[in-house]
């Protein structure tokens, strides 16, 4: 990748998520009041407005909610086309955007996937997903 992906702005809200990935752990949040799982990280529950937010480690298993094969991309991604970006729904019910790795012919909506930790930089890891 000739041009670097700029890193996330790590702050108090997002740090546990990004640090978890560096430790090969996928962390999401759960509301201690209503029990809903939450992604992306927040300091207030978007379901009940409670601030009792807890972090939990998850297995990273889920299924493909949707995907696209990108043929025209910009900036640092221009050289990588074609690549697959998808939305994965984790078993816990939350959805995340991700890259889906593997044989393009095998990638389909609703297929099962599991997380893999893609190290982009010394201190920057992204959760990608691959077919189970």
């Amino acid at each position: 990748m000739s041009q670097k992906i700029s890193k996330p702005v790590t702050d108090e809200e997002s740090r546990p998520f990004w640090e978890g990935l560096n430790n090969k752990e996928l962390l999401i949040q759960q509301c201690g009041s209503c029990g809903e799982n939450i992604f992306y990280p927040r300091s207030i529950c978007p379901y009940c407005f409670s601030e009792e937010i807890q972090w939990r480690k998850v297995t990273g298993n889920g299924k493909i909610y949707s995907y696209t094969v990108v043929h025209q991309a910009f900036g640092p991604y221009k050289e990588e086309v074609p690549f697959v970006v998808g939305i994965v729904e984790l078993d816990e019910g939350v959805r995340m955007m991700t890259r889906i790795i593997g044989d393009r012919e095998q990638i389909e909506v609703d297929k099962e996937v599991t997380v893999l930790f893609e190290q982009i930089d010394d201190d920057f890891t992204l959760p990608y997903f691959q077919l189970v």
Partner: protein, 379 residues
């Protein structure tokens, strides 16, 4: 029809369109504003409210008001992407009904084709959980919706292509349209992929252009030049910011904004004579037709098949040639309003829809994020 008819659109205009290398966004808006005011038979001194949306300035309504020399009692630069201008119409009606002002000028201008803002790859706040994966925005997000719709309902690329082909037929009848040469379904299917399943010809153009719309109270309408186009109903809604957070990739907030607009107008879907539906991408149209209730969920593909939305089809849609063929300077919504008004004023010549009395205008902004629906009618 139960609308009170408290406000009408009394003037519309585009600026130069397509490629405008010698004009900046202020010039384009000034050009459109001047022609729209002349269209209404009003002057800039009649304008007491200004609405604009864009990413070209900090506080764009301040810069534009100063540039145009307009003193305003009221400004609103609500920016919810391409649907901003339909929202501005709704906000203008509310302001007029509240007695806050009499004449609102709504403008947009963009040099997306010749002088786009430099793309940045910063990933602040909630965008940091999406941007690193390289999904091109907005096309990639719409592609995700299309994949899901195809999976869930069996929608085909041919059905999506029907929208592009029909829209191009309308464009061929509009000398202002950027792309006018006829295309067939096979041309769409054989155009290169941008983000599967969307091909190049499933995607809107990238052009320069500006537009202006004048909304006036019924008291002012009495002294305007052309027949008024009444704002019968309006509604707005939004469901998410980033595409991952869209509750259902196949259902847009048009379900809510459309319902509100129809209820306020007191008209039924079968009474709509002409529809101007934001066509950033072919899938946008299918999702919108379903969410607005013109057909059932999943039936959008069948609904547009057989060139039903083309000239002489029984559902005239995007009659100026749409974002797919007429032009798309980034936030397209104002052009939907301009075309609907012209249709209701019987000014569209070759592409005129016979006896167009009621029009539906529907804007979509962001990545299927925001919607605003306006229903317009003539006397």
């Amino acid at each position: 029809m139960k609308s009170d008819r408290t406000a009408a659109i009394v003037g519309v205009a585009e600026s130069d369109l397509g490629k405008t290398p010698n004009k900046n966004v202020l010039q384009l808006q000034a050009q459109a504003a001047k022609v729209a005011l002349a269209d209404a038979g009003l002057t800039k001194d009649d304008v007491d409210a200004l609405f604009t949306a864009g990413n070209w300035a900090w506080a764009p309504s301040l810069m534009l008001a100063e540039y145009l020399g307009i003193d305003t009692k009221y400004t609103d630069s609500t920016n919810i992407g391409g649907s901003s201008f339909e929202a501005h119409v709704g906000h203008a009606v509310a302001g007029i009904e509240a007695g806050l002002f009499e004449v609102a000028l709504i403008t947009y201008g963009s040099t997306n084709r010749t002088n786009p803002m430099n793309s940045t790859f910063r990933a602040p706040l909630t965008a940091q959980y999406e941007l690193p994966y390289g999904l091109p925005t907005p096309v990639g997000a719409y592609a995700l919706a299309a994949t899901r719709h195809m999976h869930q309902y069996g929608t085909t690329s041919e059905q999506l292509a029907e929208v592009s082909v029909a829209t191009r037929k309308w464009a061929s009848m509009n000398e202002k349209a950027y792309k006018r040469e006829p295309i067939e379904i096979s041309d769409v299917l054989h155009s290169r992929y941008i983000a599967e399943p969307l091909h190049l010809l499933d995607c809107c153009l990238v052009t320069d252009g500006g537009g202006a719309v004048i909304v006036a109270s019924k008291e002012v309408v009495a002294r305007t030049k052309k027949r008024p186009v009444w704002i019968l109903g309006h509604g707005e809604a939004n469901s998410h910011n980033t595409i991952v957070n869209m509750p259902d990739l196949t259902v847009t907030s048009a379900r809510e904004s459309g319902q509100r607009a129809f209820e306020m107008a007191g008209v039924s879907r079968t009474e709509i004579d002409v529809a101007e539906i934001y066509d950033s991408f072919t899938i946008t149209v299918l999702l919108t037709l379903e969410s607005l209730g013109f057909c059932e969920p999943g039936e959008g593909g069948a609904f547009v098949s057989g060139q039903r939305t083309a000239p002489s089809g029984d559902f005239p849609m995007n009659t100026n040639g749409g974002g797919l063929s007429y032009g798309h300077p980034g936030m397209y919504g104002i052009f939907l309003l301009i075309e609907a008004v012209r249709q209701l004023r019987d000014e569209c010549e070759a592409r005129q829809v016979d006896n167009a009395e009621i029009a539906l205008v529907h804007g979509t902004g962001g990545v299927l994020s925001s919607t605003s629906t306006v229903i317009l009618g003539r006397d």
